[in-house]
Amino acid sequence: VKNLLKVALGIATSIGGFLEVGSISTAAQAGASYGFQLVWAVVLATVLVMFLVEMSGRLAACSGHPLAAAVRERFGFRFQVVPLVAETVLDGLVLAAEVGGVCIALHLMTGVSARWWAVPVALGAWLLLWRGTFGAIENGVSLLGLLAVVFVLAAWRLHPPWTEAARGLVPSLSAEDPARYSFLAVSILGATLSPYLFNFYSSGAVEDEWDETHLGVNRATAVLGMAFGGVMSLGILVTAALVLRPRGIQVESYHQAALMLTPVFPFWGFVLFAVVLGVACFGAVLEIALNMAYLQAQSLGWDWSENLRPKDDARFSLVYTVALALSASLMVLGVDPLRLTLLAMSLTVIVLPLIVVPFLVIMNDEKYLGEHRNGLLGNLVVLGITLLGFLLAVVAVPLQVAGGS
């Protein structure tokens, strides 16, 4: 029973970590602008994230080394410094976007301008990291993250036309504004595949002292957790397609996105959207800030654990402190969180091969994985989708930037 509980908790954790500002806003935009046409992008991204999350957990369970540490050890510092810098910058942008998401949620609830919330939000997150332990943070984030199930409920109650939705499983090029359509597809991939997720997950497995007996738990968590997470993203996309699209509402700000729940939950819809957005983004703020500390510590060989008190882990604690301070200042300066999110998501896809290719090499290294090395199928699926995403991004991002959004 205890083991079953563990699996359930693990799955809840990964669902909770799945939805954040990126997946909420990209799925809402996709549904509002293109109906069910981008369902395939959510499904493809979910399959890829399942494979990658399973791999990062397996790496940590078999070798005791999280992803960032393994890349430095296997490829050397002169190579690793490139993905390290890229991921640090990306994490910083996404962190600022998530802080922005929480601020917007608070703004929707209180009417007080979002910029005023940046400092209190960052301070609150910092306090939790400074005082909290890994387990408390992980479980708190995930249980609250389950609130996002309201989107699935909403989609269900709107009685979607299933055959039409299923047709979205097959990729097709949209006739209206194909540049924006491809850009959104790229953003959906980027939102689901945030690099912080893999490193955070493998760091968590090390924090929880996984070994080879956890491989089953790991597989169940990765597949079921990510599948549920994907279903929630689809819930948002379908709801947006059925509520926003017929009314001609394009999601250019979170105020417009917040309307999507009102037809289903007339009185509470607006507040509910704000609460889910706020909770999901706040969870992501904690995870990303922590991941930035993990990245530095693991790359440079420091002793690290969120379970140590700050005085016993000074460098580690200062990394997330500085990261939170910088991201909050971006928001105070008045950067638009929605635009920042989309920028960060599309950059993610461009950077992704730099992170995934070394990852794959390590997953085939006997020294780290022993007999649990990757199979051919895993290698091919991950490499294929990553390169596909990269090609799409290289074409779509410049088009979108040139066209202006």
């Binding site: 540490a69 050890e73 400074w130 440079l300 008190r309 700050p310 005085k311 604690s317 200062l318």
Partner: protein, 122 residues
């Protein structure tokens, strides 16, 4: 064993398996009577940065001097101190008794312990 593949950039563990940095550099000794041999493994931010840019490493060294972290100069571990080399490199020292935590100690004393709730007052 290949130095670059099997030793450089590996995680350094002390006798208690505490992580104490990575193998940031390998020091070779060249003599006329014998082939080059490993004199020491080095760990420390200056050694690491020197591999990217010697100029930045000099700047970091100056910064350490100005902040009074003299102890931060790279720590050298002789080959006789190496216990084990696999995906980690374990050495027969107690990290707390070396310079490995110079920056950590400085940041703890000068910054972290001054922030409430760091655990310093417990």
């Amino acid at each position: 064993m290949f130095l670059v593949r099997d030793v450089l950039d590996k995680q350094l563990l002390d006798v208690n398996r505490t992580r104490m940095g990575k193998v940031d550099g390998v020091v070779l000794g060249v003599g006329s009577s014998h082939p080059p041999r490993v004199v020491a493994l080095e760990t420390g931010p200056v050694t690491l940065l020197r591999r990217l840019s010697p100029r930045l490493a000099v700047l970091l060294e100056r910064l350490e001097k100005r902040l009074g972290i003299e102890d931060a100069r790279p720590l050298r571990l002789g080959p006789e101190q190496v216990l084990r080399v696999d995906i980690d490199v374990q050495v027969a020292v107690n990290a707390q008794e070396t310079r490995a935590f110079a920056w950590e100690d400085w940041l703890r004393r000068r910054v972290v312990e001054r922030i409430p709730g760091s655990g310093a007052d417990e």
